[in-house]
Subunit: 189 residues, 2 copies
Amino acid sequence: MFTTFSASASGDWRVTWQRTLRGAPLGKTPYLSVARRPYFFASAVAAPDNRWQLIGVPSNARYVQKDEKAQLVRVQAGLGRSEATCAALIPIRKSEAWWNLSQDERREIFEAKSRHIADCMKYLPAIARQLYHARDLGQPFDFLTWFEFAPEHSAQFDALVAQLRETEEWSFVEREVDIRLSAVTDAAE
Amino acid sequence: MFTTFSASASGDWRVTWQRTLRGAPLGKTPYLSVARRPYFFASAVAAPDNRWQLIGVPSNARYVQKDEKAQLVRVQAGLGRSEATCAALIPIRKSEAWWNLSQDERREIFEAKSRHIADCMKYLPAIARQLYHARDLGQPFDFLTWFEFAPEHSAQFDALVAQLRETEEWSFVEREVDIRLSAVTDAAE
C-alpha cells in the first residue's frame, strides 16, 4: 500500500505551521489529506507547488539491529491513539554523498556517531512514528516521517527533532520541510 | 529512472529458455523488451500472464561494506559490452520471514553464511550484473537481477546461479524465475 500526503483545502489534519529548513520549499497548504492506496502513478513531472502530493511506502528497516528491534517493539506506540491529536510530517532528502556510502559507513554515521535509534528511543512511547520510503519511487524526497503525539508532549517532540538536526547524519540532509498538524475533529469544526 | 522488462512479440532480446524454479510461474514469452522511463504506473492489478511487465529501479547497496565496495568497483564490468550477447533476467521474491529480520541478521545470512558477495566476485568481470529493486514499488517480485555475458562464459554463469541457490540465503526465496536471453542483432534476424 502506498501512502499519499496531499496538500488540500480540507482534510483530517489542519496545518498549524509549516517551515522549510533546507532546500526548495513546499507550497503552503491549509490542510493535509492522508490516504492509503494500492496503486500510484509515479512521474518525474511535479505538480504545481500549491497542490503537491508526496507518496511513500512503509518498508523493511535498514539499520536496526536485532537487540534494538526487540527494544523498539517493546516500547513504541502505534498510530491512531485518540489522545494523539498533534502530528508532524517531515519530508527529507539526503545527498548523493550519503547514498554513495557503503552500508557499514552509513550505519556508523547513523548510530555510532549520531545515535539516531538510541536517542529517539528516549521519546517512546510518547511520540509515535512511521517512516515511509520515497526515494526508490522517484519522489522529490527520500523519506517522509510521520509523527503523532498528545499536545502535552509537543515540547518533547521539539527536543527530539532539534537533537536529530545537530547530528552528523543530518549534515547529509539537503532538503527538509517540517509541517505541524492538528487533528480535525467534529467538535473543532 | 524505472526499468521495465516486458514480455513481447519482438524485442532486443530473444528468450532462449525460461524456467520457474519456485512459486507461481511467469507466462512464456518469445522476446523481452527492456526500456527505461522516468515514470511508471504501479498497480496491484496484474496484467494477464502472457503480457507481463516487471518494473524495477536501481538503488543504493544494502549490504556491501566499504572494503567490498572498493573491490567490486575495481573488478566489475558494465552492461552493454559488444561481446556480451547472452543475458539472463532472474526475478526473485523473498519471504516475509526474511523481511522481518533486522539488518544485522540479514547481513549475517547474506554474507557471513552465504558468501553472496565474496562468491559472486569470483565471476567478475566475465559476468556483468545490475540489480533492480522492485519490492517497494508494489511489484510481484522483490528483485530483478539482470546479467550479461559472452557465450563462452555461459557455463560460469550456470555455476554462479547454482552456487547461490544452495546458500542459506536462498532458503528465504519463495518465488524465482530464470529467463535466459540472446541479443537480437541485425545479422541474426
